[in-house]
Symmetry: C2
Subunit: 129 residues, 2 copies
């Protein structure tokens, strides 16, 4: 992945990609660091790594929760349409609703050109209902 993207194949990038591949939820810098545990990196490095992965399209900046951006592999998404994300207002957990397919909103009128559509849902998750 990194080679085809013409990025240096460093320990940091590999480790962070692995973390993101092992989860099914968008993660923040802090969550990534926690999952790397003892072998984590400086937060600046994590941010810059995420930035570089974003730029080559391997990652998506998905949403902000508690003032922190959450990142996810670009896997199941097209450039313009990502699946909806559901965040539980009770326990705070986030779920990717990959099975819902929302229609892309058509350009409504007056020459709006839509490049990206983001759908967020809030409510109660199965375990909190």
């Amino acid at each position: 992945m990194l080679k085809t993207a013409k990025l240096y194949c460093t320990k940091g990038r590999v480790a962070i990609l692995k973390v993101l591949m092992k989860t099914d939820k968008p993660l923040s810098q802090e969550q990534i660091a926690r999952r790397l545990g003892k072998k984590s990196f400086d937060k600046v490095t994590i941010y810059r790594t995420l930035e570089s992965l974003l730029k080559v399209g391997l990652l998506h900046k998905v949403f902000i929760d508690k003032r922190a951006w959450h990142f996810e592999l670009a896997d199941n998404c097209t450039e313009s349409q990502c699946h909806p994300h559901f965040t539980c207002t009770h326990c705070g957990s986030t779920h990717c609703l990959t099975e819902i397919s929302l229609p892309m909103a058509g350009s409504p009128h007056k020459g709006f050109v839509i490049h990206r559509q983001q759908v967020r849902l809030e409510g109660l998750c199965p375990t909190c209902t």
Copy 2:
């Protein structure tokens, strides 16, 4: 409005409500302060005022742009479904797309209960196309 909400009718709340009534876009604390100009209030006061108006349902916390929450009168929205918001990636302006009606996503499966749905669009606005 304030009386029926059982809130003290203070200069701050009136002024901030007026600003929000005079615009058609969600505004951040900083944008509100700028529009109040010389007669603005401490940012803490603005945040607390917005908080109190939120609590009684007069306002909605709509989205975060450039790490800042933007607020809007609850006018055209139901509790659970707000109109989509379009932000231009070129000039940064935001438009409320009140004329689009997106269907509320049905609870997909497994007992997710959806309380709020938020749709954001990104792209080019008419003047930037």
